[in-house]
């Protein structure tokens, strides 16, 4: 078997489950400079990372010029199955994830039926195992039917085969402060975390776009920053009060970052994520009313983008999460106010992060490993993922070519949906290979 491409000069050998990745730059290995080394994978684990490894019988992947990252972990993915298999399935969504360098994704609960029972989360978990492209860790709903009225059976989902630890009503905010308090308290019993979609509902009735100059001139109902920040502030205080873990989904404003920075300075158990699109795009893209740029929370201003990048760089925001939200063509080929919120993101996330964070000097590759694998796995309480690359850990890793010349994003990948806001945008880099427990899910940028 051979694989083409500029980086992978040859793949040879016969050992089915032994791989020698030769001459790769290991993020965080040998100091921040990232020296090159060889990585030997066997039996699903990393057996050794050293220079000049020579192991006969292993398949060899020449990785000169490539970066090795621990397999990426997404805390926020919409796989749409069950219910909206026209937009995405576990099979297609996890294939997209693997192509983006992910070895694990957290599947959000807003499916149909809602993932609010052990039955549904176990179904999603099993579909993920069957697909095999990456691990699928279901997220459970906080409230039954995402209705915000009463708690879902959180403990039963935690005890199920799916071992749910992250609970979220994502798409909707747990707006009732008492219900939020109870949810935070309740999940302490099994080391759970509540991932809040911070959106004050009354302040965002009919909201379409960041409230500012663009919404004013376009005549679209504004989605004010304060509607996000007010909930984050409240929930940070609640988390501190009950001593329970709070995770903030898709932080989108400078003010939110400021509040989280303050909460962390108090030592409160708060973590946060930012999406690739909020690190790169602004609300000015809405000027043509193309709903491919319609997302919730909305694209904000360039001042917000600058502060989100800074907060991710200094660790205030813990991780990048895609909020991959596939939608069928007709959900976007319509008037802005009729269109669905959401954008795909799994296949472009790492390239966007290189563009926004690495090429700008804000984050090195060890930092990328931390924000896209190590910390999200920790927040998700996900065993077997997010370990820094070293001998003895599960062989979940991503090989990335940062020097691949910038190429325009084409909206045609493994995802069933095409609603990428990055279409046509030139982004650097290329995911070359992804390994899940020692077996390649992606080789030479294609599904293995």
């Amino acid at each position: 078997m051979t694989a083409g491409g500029p980086a992978v000069t040859g793949v040879r050998g016969t050992g089915p489950d032994r791989w020698l990745i030769r001459g790769v730059t290991v993020a965080g290995y040998g100091g921040r400079g990232g020296e090159t080394a060889d990585i030997l994978l066997s039996g699903g684990s990393i057996v050794a990372i050293e220079s000049g490894l020579n192991h006969s019988g292993a398949r060899v992947l020449d990785a000169d010029g490539l970066i090795a990252l621990p397999g990426l972990v997404d805390l926020h993915t919409h796989l749409r199955e069950p219910g909206r298999e026209d937009a995405e399935t576990v099979e297609t969504g996890t294939a997209a994830a693997a192509l983006g360098g992910y070895t694990a994704v957290h599947a959000m609960a807003n499916t149909d039926p809602v993932a609010d029972t052990a039955g549904v989360v176990e179904q999603v978990w099993r579909l993920g195992r069957a697909a095999g492209h990456c691990d699928v860790q279901p997220v459970g709903a906080v409230t039954a039917g995402l209705a915000g009225q009463r708690l879902a059976e959180l403990g039963t989902m935690a005890d199920s085969v799916a071992r749910v630890r992250v609970f979220s009503d994502d798409g909707r905010c747990v707006a009732d402060p008492l219900l939020m308090r109870r949810a935070l308290e309740y999940v302490k019993a099994f080391d759970g975390v509540i991932a809040q979609h911070a959106q004050e509902p009354r302040l965002t009735e009919g909201a379409q776009l960041n409230e500012g100059e663009m919404s004013a001139s376009l005549g679209l109902a504004g989605w004010p920053a304060v509607a996000e920040e007010a909930i984050i502030a409240r929930d940070c205080l609640l988390a501190a009060h009950v001593g329970s873990a709070l995770h903030i989904c898709h932080v989108s404003t400078a003010g939110s970052a400021e509040i989280i920075r303050w909460a962390k300075s108090k030592g409160w158990p708060v973590t946060a994520e930012v999406t690739p699109h909020h690190l790169l795009l602004t609300d000015e893209l809405a000027s043509g009313y193309d709903p491919v740029f319609k997302v919730n929370p909305p694209l904000r201003t360039s001042a917000d983008v600058v502060e989100l990048r800074r907060a991710l760089a200094d660790g205030t925001i813990d991780c990048v999460a895609t909020d991959h939200a596939p939608h069928p063509v007709e959900a976007k080929e319509t008037e802005w106010s009729e269109a669905a919120f959401g954008m795909t993101g799994l296949e472009t996330a790492l390239r966007v992060v290189q563009e926004a964070m690495v090429d700008t000097g804000l984050l090195d590759w060890a930092g990328v490993a931390d924000r896209m694998s190590i910390r999200p796995a920790r927040i998700g309480r996900l065993a077997g993922h997010g370990s820094p690359l070293e001998a003895g850990v599960p062989a979940n890793l991503t090989l990335y070519d940062p020097a691949s010349p910038p190429a325009a994003v084409v909206p045609a990948g493994a995802s069933k949906s095409r609603n990428t806001p990055f279409a046509g945008l030139e982004l650097p880099g290329r995911v070359v290979a992804t390994f899940l427990r020692g077996a390649p899910t992606v080789l030479d940028g294609k599904l293995a």
Binding site: Q208, E211, G212, E213, S215, A216, S217, L218, G219, L220, A221, G222, P224, G288, Y289, E330, A331, E333, T334, E335, W336, S337, E338
Partner: protein, 334 residues
């Protein structure tokens, strides 16, 4: 000019003046026994209306017919995915029928913009959600120019003679220095958005007067001034444009009560008396008499409300003519 008219921002000062001057020429038609020109013979104009708006639809229909275009009225109730055919499919249908121009009125902001991406013909925005209504701004500018710059050197114009007033001297030029105060629900008003853009392009000094709840948060970035106090603006206004207070705003905490709104921002007789003698009162219609405008004011000689309707036909004729590149236009002056 561009192929479409979607936003007043699409119009340069020269474009806007060309439309107004063309409308002025076309106004001469109103005095002729046969009010029809053959310029758009064989061209098809579709009125695609997703909202009830008898006045705007009829205005566009009359404009197109006076230019001899074939007019198809397409009323679509409700909209988009959930309620039947999508806007895109409707657009493709119109495209297949060979529409040269589509006049669209739609409850969603940006609908005209989207439509322009799906059809080859010209798109005229006849009001999209809370975004824009550029032909309303054009007819307002035309009305202001006729009243205040009607060939009388900027002094008070002679009393309006009815119809399109073909016998009065032709108005010309821009609106430099004309002080226009737009009053009311700017936040949700497509009329206000288009007027701010167009009138400032034409050199007018626009002030928005409204309670803070009915102004966009980012209104400071617009090319106009803002005031919360109508009374202080009236003595320095050449034009007061009253906006309709929509029924659905009345119970949504934008203001405490209709009566309080009316007391603070309604134009009654006492307030009208604070205006300079030459000042005019405008309203895009339909009016809520007794809310934003008192009946005595609406019916006064300062009011241009009926005139705006008549000027709407003329102005829309000019827009259709210029967008569709009709011929034989000089016939008017021969």
């Amino acid at each position: 000019m561009k192929r479409h008219l979607i936003s007043a921002a699409d119009l340069s000062r020269a474009d806007a003046l060309l439309i107004l001057d063309t409308a002025e020429e076309l106004a001469q038609l109103a005095d002729r026994p046969i009010k029809k020109l053959p310029t758009l013979r064989g061209r098809t104009v579709v009125n695609l209306f997703y909202e009830d708006s008898t006045r705007t639809r009829i205005s566009f229909e009359a404009a197109a017919k006076r230019l001899s275009a074939d007019v198809i009225n397409f009323s679509a109730k409700g909209s988009s995915v959930a309620k039947g055919e999508s806007l895109k499919d409707t657009a493709l249908t119109l495209e297949a029928m060979g529409a040269d121009a589509v006049v669209i009125r739609h409850p969603a902001s940006g609908a005209a913009h989207r439509l322009a991406g799906w059809v080859r013909g010209s798109v005229l925005n006849a009001g999209d959600g809370t975004h824009e209504h550029p032909t309303q701004a054009l007819l307002d500018a035309f009305t202001i120019r006729r009243r205040l710059r009607g060939g009388t050197g900027g002094r008070a114009a002679p009393p309006y003679a009815g119809g399109s007033g073909g016998s009065s001297p032709r108005a010309s030029g821009a609106l430099d220095g004309v002080r226009v105060t737009i009053v009311g629900d700017v936040l949700h008003s497509r009329v206000a958005r288009s007027n701010v853009l167009l009138l400032s392009t034409l050199g007018a000094e626009v002030t928005l007067a409204a309670p803070p709840t009915l102004l966009p948060l980012a209104v400071g970035s617009w090319p106009c001034a803002v005031s919360y106090d109508l009374d202080s603006e009236l003595p320095k206004s050449d034009v007061v444009m009253m906006l309709r207070v929509q029924q659905e705003r009345m119970n949504a905490a934008y203001f405490p009560s209709v009566r309080e709104y009316s007391r603070r921002y309604g134009l009654d007789v006492a307030r009208m008396a604070r205006l300079p003698d030459h000042a005019i009162v405008m309203h895009p219609g339909p009016m809520n008499r007794g809310v934003e405008i008192a009946a005595e004011v609406a019916d006064s000689s300062r009011s241009t409300i009926v005139e705006q309707v008549a000027n709407g036909v003329t102005t829309r004729m000019a827009v259709l003519y210029l967008l569709l590149g009709g011929t034989e236009f000089p016939a008017v002056t021969q």
